[in-house]
Assembly symmetry: C2
Homo-oligomer: 294 residues x 2
């Protein structure tokens, strides 16, 4: 299989879209017709909604990012829905980033990597988000499994929330903790680059921190970025431009609630039309921002 970064770049180019649609389905926000058709079964409702959203956004998104937490919340039935959605994304030709923020040591890290990145598993996706607190040796087993199977990782570097500052911004003698995390990401990923020149080890960098985004982009010229914070969290399409390398390469921008639970100007808009329109609009403005990066 081609390297993850190469497959993602091809998807961005062929769809003219750096949009990643995040699937964060809260049961109480699902459309009434979806809930009714599921007959009160949370897992069935999540699966039905997820597959419908995949159909609606597939023309506009380079990839999708289901968040494991929202499925895990409903136990085995919820995770069966997650498995159904990642399989459904594959048949629709959409790349999938499993947003699990997993992290552990040694054989446990390897077990998580097998769970999400090895071929054939229920939860197999194209890339997984991982947490860096335990250090480089905790990332290594993830990197090995990813590289072996043409898969990717996104390590949390600079998250989009206000509390990101608590640990990530601490000054460690002229640099910040998140910059040290970035250096670690670069070091563990350097050996594993695809034909595009981009590594299989990416970074999560929030668009809500424009200065840090710019500095990290410069410091990590071969690292794919996954950029949260656009849309409901407040960052604009213009803010996301700093995530891209020259030629508009190297980043996808996530939109979750603003696409899957949009607030259309005309509140009588049927939800499917509203989701499709929101995905299209996000794609268009994000791609315009991307193309301005020369």
């Amino acid at each position: 299989m081609d390297a993850y970064a190469d497959r993602l770049e091809a998807a961005i180019t062929s769809k003219s879209s750096p949009l990643c649609v995040g699937l964060d389905p809260r049961l109480d926000k699902l459309p009434a017709d979806v809930r009714a058709a599921a007959g009160g079964d949370p897992g069935k409702a999540l699966l039905r909604f997820g597959l419908e959203v995949l159909d609606l956004v597939a023309p506009h998104a380079a990839c999708v990012k289901p968040n494991l937490g929202f499925f895990e919340a409903f136990g085995l039935g919820g995770l069966a829905a997650y498995a159904g959605i990642v399989a459904g994304a594959r048949t629709r030709g959409l790349l999938v980033i499993g947003d699990g923020k997993r992290g552990d040591l040694s054989t446990t890290a390897e077990a998580y990597a097998q769970a999400h990145l090895a071929p054939g598993g229920d939860f197999e996706v194209d890339a997984l988000t991982v947490a860096p607190y335990m250090g480089a040796d905790s990332l290594a087993p993830f990197v090995e499994v990813a590289a072996a199977h043409g898969k990717g990782l996104y390590v949390l570097v600079r998250t989009s929330n206000p509390g990101a500052a608590d640990l990530q911004d601490l000054d460690v003698g002229g640099a910040r903790v998140y910059e040290r995390t970035a250096a670690m990401v670069r070091a563990v990923g350097e050996r594993h680059r695809g034909r595009s020149g981009l590594s299989c080890v990416g970074a999560v960098v929030g668009a809500t921190w424009p200065e840090q985004l710019r500095a990290l982009r410069a410091a990590l010229p071969t690292t794919p970025f996954l950029v949260p914070g656009y849309g409901a969290q407040g960052a604009t399409a213009a803010d996301t431009a700093a995530a891209h390398l020259a030629g508009g390469r190297g980043a996808v921008v996530n939109a979750s609630r603003s696409v899957t639970f949009p607030t259309p100007k005309d509140p009588t808009t049927p939800w499917r039309a509203a989701v499709e329109a929101a995905a299209r609009a996000a794609k268009e403005e994000l791609d315009a921002a991307r193309r301005r990066v020369v």
Copy 2:
């Protein structure tokens, strides 16, 4: 329900044991008879082994700590085994720490907390391990759910691996990152203390770092500790003494492989007898170390 810390202290006292048995079942290491009885179904093998281990260690352990990664690796069938084991632990009167090292923001953090700490879910446990990189606001939803249901958390503060030093040891102007994490743990947990005086928000601190363990114990006098590193990872029972508060309170010490996959002196020892003996021996030496803390 009583506060988690109170329930755990009661278990440590009534069993005369600060032992936490970690369940990290690797399929290729399971006893041949367990694998044969499961007929090649990985989930069934994990469940069968887990329930047998619960029976063997129940007299000796204050709690058990199944690691989600080893179950997630086998997809839905693996997680069904996890659900069966946590339910089995409950019926055996064993407290369960779900070792998931979860972490996310806002409603996603709340979703994970619901998944693992709210009553009635497939994955309901007594406490969950969580990762701190995203900051205090990422921990807050976990703390709220835990406090509301008499459940607990253990935040990664100082992990037991060599790479722990990469980020956790960085000098942030007279303190280390892990000390700042510790301060965050104390701050988010301070309001939620049980009758024992101990908080529902605990800390993971490796016994492989004796100096840091001692310093953190002094800095966190109301924080329950979950202490990995004893046994297969090299820390001794004597090393774990520093984890306890006066009176031998406030900590459980994890042993995984050294109990569940022991290497008995007589290699012909049946595996069940070997596991039982390893749990008993670990309990005895850990409790002796605990009782010396006055």
